[in-house]
Structure formats: C-alpha cells, structure tokens
C-alpha cells in the first residue's frame, strides 16, 4: 500500500517544515521577558514575575533556573530576542564576564541589587543550640588546618566539635552542605571559611604574598566524610537534619524561615540568624543578591520596563513588601532609593567599579 508509505513521507516533511518555520518565527519576535540565572534568586524573581504577569497586560516572564554562572554566560552571548533580557545572580558580575559580554556586543548592563540573603548553619530543633565562631567552622571543615603558629599545615585531625574548641560538645562533626556548583557554597566558603581562616595571622599574611596558596588553604573543604555534599535541594537537607540530630546543614535563610519548627540556626560569632540581624548587617554570613539587565532590550522587549518597575517597587522589595514575606532581606531605605533611581534612569554599570 503506497498510501501508507506516502503518509510517512508527508508527515515527516510536514514536521521539517514546522521546524524551519518555528525557528524563523522565534527569531522575529518575543512578547515575554526572558530571565535566566541563580537558583537562589529564582524564588524571589518568580514571585515578582507572577505578580507582574497577573497585574499587567503583558505576558508573565519566563524564568530559567540555570545557576549564576550559567545564567551570566547565556546573558552575555549577545543582544537580540534569542538572548535573555535579565540574568539573576547571587554574586556580583565578574570582570571576566563583563569582558565576555562586551565581546558579544552587550556593552550596557544595568546592575540591580535587590537585597540580602543570609546563609545559616542549622541543626534539628531538638538538638542542643550551638554558638560557633567562624574560626570554629573553618577548623572543623577545612581540608588542612594550621598545626601551630609558624606556618605548618596538617590534614584535618578533628573528629568532634570538642576537638575544635573545648567549649563545644563532644559530638561528631557532620555537616551537610551544597555542592561546589552552587552559589550558596561559594558564598559559604568566602564568608565563613575565609572569615575563620583569616583569624590565623600567618595565613592572613599570605593573602598578599601568595594569594594562590592562601585561597587553597582557606577555600578547600575536607573530603573525609565530615562534610557531605547533599545536593542542591535544601528541603532534603532539612529532612536529613530532622533524622540526624547531631548533623548540621548549610542553606539559605528562606528555608530556615519556612521550617522554623523543624530546624534552628546556630549563632555565628554570637549573632543568631534572624531577619533583623541579617537586615542590620550584624549577622556575619549574608550576601547581596543581584540581577543584571541589558539596556539595549529595554523598551524593545514588551514588559521589560514594567518588570523592572515592579521589582523595584516598595510593595515588592520594601521593608514590608511581599519579597520580605518570602525571606528576602531588604536593603536599608536609602540604598533602595539609590538603586531604584538608577533603574529608573537606566544607569549602566561602570566598568571601573569592577
């Protein structure tokens, strides 16, 4: 029956035509804002996008969760409807990324700081509360620790928290944390590990003389089982902490905020991770969150300007805005005012500042 065979041929060629026409259509227009980037900023950006989509005549922006680095790479690939308009990031853009953007014609980037996120060091609610210093955490988790004052390193010998600091209980060191691909891990290493590392005078001196070995000492986490990479899913870490009262977990403040009756955050350098302490800057482990916008896309992509306005409105990122309800720590009033006016004027990032 040749009709059957010709059906195959017709349907296959129809699909090929569809492919070609689709790629042509995709290049001609896009009527929604396209956002990529950090999984830490994702929960906040999605709320803004949804409220913006429902409250305006524009479509709801599409947000891909790619991680900060992956997002900025896509963002810097070029100008045009095929490329993202906005990149979310849980760290500031790097000079190398600005350069690669510029090579692809993305020259004017608007930086928008949206607030802060705290990183907590938490254990199960029924476990004993701990007060840790960043030095304690560094000594407990570094791959190599200083043996004495004159620059000798040994493989981390500590088994219990009491080995690190006699004032702590003699429970086994067991920490669940994010993998190296995660922005939370980057921030934890930079703020906590390096913060504790710097308290050793000779290592601090290395920072200027030999920054590579300084980084290697401060940023390398032990691999002998005391630190467990628990994947990117913070809900799983919370569940594991409940099952194992002696373990600690590292995750973002919003997860602590939503699971207050299951886990509690340890005091770090004497400050507990509360909303107010992070907002005031007293809690030492907090980081700013950003998103980056292509100036060339504003007023070209429908809804982009409106999305920017929604994100920087008081009802979103203000002290009592809906983002604060979800665990974003707002910036102080004056800082918010400065960023908002930069966004209104579409003031691009000056390269000199990075």
């Amino acid at each position: 029956m040749s009709t059957k065979r010709s059906q195959f041929i017709i349907s296959s060629s129809a699909i090929l035509c569809l492919l070609l026409s689709a790629s042509a259509a995709a290049q001609s227009a896009r009527d929604y804002v396209y956002i990529v980037g950090s999984s830490t900023v994702y929960p906040f950006a999605t709320i803004v996008a949804e409220r913006f989509g429902r409250g305006s005549e524009f479509k709801t922006p599409k947000i891909e969760s790619t991680g900060s680095g992956g997002g900025l790479k896509l963002f810097c690939d070029g100008v045009g409807v095929d490329f993202p308009d906005v990149a979310n990031s849980s760290r500031a853009i790097k000079q190398s990324e600005v350069d690669s953007c510029a090579r692809n014609g993305v020259t004017e980037i608007i930086e928008v700081k949206i607030g802060y996120d705290g990183i907590v060091f938490a254990n199960a609610l029924q476990s004993t509360p701990l007060t840790l210093s960043r030095r304690d955490i560094f000594l407990a988790l570094a791959k190599q620790v200083p043996e004495n004052a004159d620059g000798l390193l040994i493989d981390n010998p500590f088994v219990t928290w009491a080995d690190v600091n006699p004032a702590l209980p003699a429970t086994k060191i067991e920490v669940l944390g994010p993998p190296p691909t995660s922005g939370t891990r980057d921030a934890f290493v930079e703020l906590v590990m390096e913060g504790g590392c710097k308290t050793v005078p000779w290592i601090k001196a290395l920072k200027n003389s030999d920054s590579n070995s300084y980084k290697a000492i401060c940023h390398t986490i032990r691999e002998d089982g005391a630190f467990v990479e628990a994947g990117e899913n913070d809900n799983l870490i919370v569940q594991k902490l409940q099952a194992n009262p002696s373990a600690f977990g590292i995750f973002g403040f919003s997860f602590l905020d939503q699971n207050k009756e299951k886990v509690k955050g340890a005091e770090i350098d004497g400050v507990a991770p509360t909303f107010d302490a992070i907002a005031d800057g007293d809690y030492p482990v907090s980081r700013p969150l950003f998103f980056y916008v292509k100036k060339a896309h504003v007023d070209v992509i429908p809804g982009l300007r409106g999305f920017l306005r929604e994100f920087t409105s008081e009802r979103a990122w203000g002290e009592e805005g809906y983002l604060a309800d979800r665990g974003l720590i707002p910036m102080p009033d004056n800082e918010r005012a400065v960023v908002a006016s930069n966004v209104r004027e579409l003031k691009p990032l000056s390269l000199a500042s990075h």
Binding site: S65, Q258, K260, E261, R326
Partner: protein, 429 residues
Amino acid sequence: MGAKRTRERTTLQKVEAGLKRRRRKELIFKLSGEIATGVGILFLVLFFAILLNKGSSAFQQTYLQLDIEFSAEVIAPGGQLDLQYADFDGIVRAALQKELPEISGRSERRELYRLASVGAAYQVHDVIAENPGLLGTTQSIWVPASADVDMLVKGNIDAAVDEALRTLSDQQIDWINRLDEAGRLDLKFNSALFSNGDSREPELAGIKGAMMGSFFMLAVTIALSFPIGVAAAIYLEEFAPRNSWSDLVEVNINNLAAVPSIVFGLLGLAVFINWMALPRSAPLVGGLVLTLLTLPVIIIASRAAIKAVPPSIRQAALGLGASKTQVVFHHVLPLAMPGMLTGAIIGMSRALGESAPLLMIGMIAFVVDVPGSFTDPSTALPVQIYLWADSPERAFAERTSAAIIVLLAFLLLMNLAAVIIRRRMERKW
C-alpha cells in the same frame, strides 16, 4: 542378564537417592523467586502508600466563604467597568474585615489579610468579568484561603508548638477557628491543581501548564519517532543486505538504547538550539530530543515484531506474485502492527517520565502561562515535580506528591494500553 539387572537397579537407586535433594533444590529456587517478587511488591506498595499518604491531601484545598461586595464605586468609577485597575485586593480585604469586625490596628489587619490567598482577588476579578450584572450586589463567594491556613486545616502546622516556631500566630489561629465555627471555612476539591499553570503561591499552583507541555512534546515525539522508527525497522529487517555495514548499524542502535538520557539533552542543546537556533524551553525542541531518545526503543521493538511474522506468509505472498513492497505493506506490516504499537507506547511512556535531557534545553523554567503551541515556553510534568520539590514553602511538599501521582497515573494508563493492544491484537501462529 544378571549384570544388566544390577545396573538397572543402581540407576533407579541413584535416581531415588538424588530425588530428595533435587526436590529440595527446586523448592529453594521457587521460594527464593517468590521472596524476590515479594520484596519487589512490598517496596512498590510502600512507595505508593507513602506517596498517597503525602499527596492525596493536595487534591483538596481550603476555601473561605466571603460576602464580596461588588461596589460600583470601586469597580466601575464613573459608570464604566474598569477591570484592570480596580482594587480587587481592597474588596477582598473589606470582606474579611466584615467577617471579624472587631479587628483594628494596622499590624493586626495585615495579619488578618494574610488568611486569604492573593488568588482571591483574581477570582473576584474573574467573577465580575464573567457576569457584569453583579455590579452593585453583594455575593457570597468561596475564595481560596492562603497556603498557611490550608496547612493548618490539614494538620501540617501544629497549633500546639510555640508561637515563634510556626508561620501562623496564636491570634491568626484563633481567627481561623472562629471562621471555621461559623461555617466559613471548608475543604473543597482543588480544581486549581488541574486548571492553572505554575505559581509561586502553592494554593494557586497547578500542573495544567506542565501537562500541556508534556502533551505537545509527546505529540512531536510520536509524529517523528513512530514513522522513522518503523521505516528503519522495515528497511533493516526486510530490505537491507546482511553485511558488516548492517551489523554496524545494528550494534549502534542497540548501543543508543543504552546511552544515558542526559547525553541526548546535550546533543539537543548543541544541534537544535545552538546550531538550528530553535527557541529554548520550547516543547518542539523537547519533543525532538525525546524523539532521539525513543527511536532506538521503537526500532528494536518494531524489528522484533517484524521478525515474529512467520516466513511462510511472505513466501505465500511472493508465490502469488506479489512484489517485495507489496509483501511488506500488505501482509507483514499489518501483522506486525500490534507489536510495533506496543513498542511505541512503551517508548512514549519512557519519554513522558524523562527529565534529565530536558534540563539541558532550558525546560527547568518558571512558566505561568499555559502553553498553547509548540514554540511557547513550557515545562513538562517531571520537571515541574523537580521544581516544586525544591520550593521552600511547606505546602509545595504535598503538591509535589500529587504531581507524582498524576504522572504515575498517566504512565499506568499508557502501559495498560500497551498490554491491552497486545492482548487484543496479538496473533498466534
């Protein structure tokens, strides 16, 4: 004679001596087989029990009954309906305030307003948009309660623990209890789960967007992989010469069936998105990637089905003067069709459950609008499950399980269809 008899006896004796041992061996083998099956079934039952236990509550949602006043001043200032800028939030708040009139003070009122979902205002908007005649009247409407209220009603928030440790205050719980006593609070079927796209508000989040995305992807996949797979199988079985070249093709097809699915995702990213410049997050690209993934499965199943057609049928047709093509399309293909369809359905159910290759082509995305075409941004069911499992809000946990239940139901239906087709249409020779 004598020697033969003794030998016979010894053989019989040998058999009898070994009989017990052989029977015991058989019993042990049978038992261990049964134990293995039993363990498998036990884990399956456990898995379903946990899933149903966690997820079944998500098919219901707490609703609040409010007397909504469709005030003409708010909705139609100057006599003209103004649906876009009217303050529907304010209308919902006023209705809440009317339920508990003694509440005053800014922070207390803010706490009160949190009992209703932000979706309540959208619902009021929809009601008046559908029926403008209600303007100026007061209607009793069931609107979704917020996710925290829902969690309390379902027992996922423990009112007995210390106030500081939960997301609802003592005061809010007291208000909720009073609303409940007044009959203003009720658990109803969670229709939002099946009629909405994704949302960051658990009470508004639904899987319709993901289901449509999966549907469009599978449509592309079946339209491409079935004809290509069947054509390849027919060629390889009926027409291709047997030589080292066809052996190489065969080895490669079997290899492809075992390649980890993420590799197909990488291929899709390189070819369809970077080279052919197709849009990211589109069901079209997802369908193309899944086509690559299911092709080997369909080719292998189709070849097996063609092989099962007895050669006598081909010979009879050839003997009556049919051409090779006529033999294939008039006789072999119709007889092999049930086996091919079964293979295709099993390939499709594998494609429906895949998430890894979709991660590479931008389908882990927040998409609120339900996709309406092959190029609209969309997610797929397994990806939606992945995204919800990673959400901090407590109420997403049960919705994750509910989405898994829906996905499993689809898989079950597809596999059941495969079994039925095989039973109904299979021919024995």
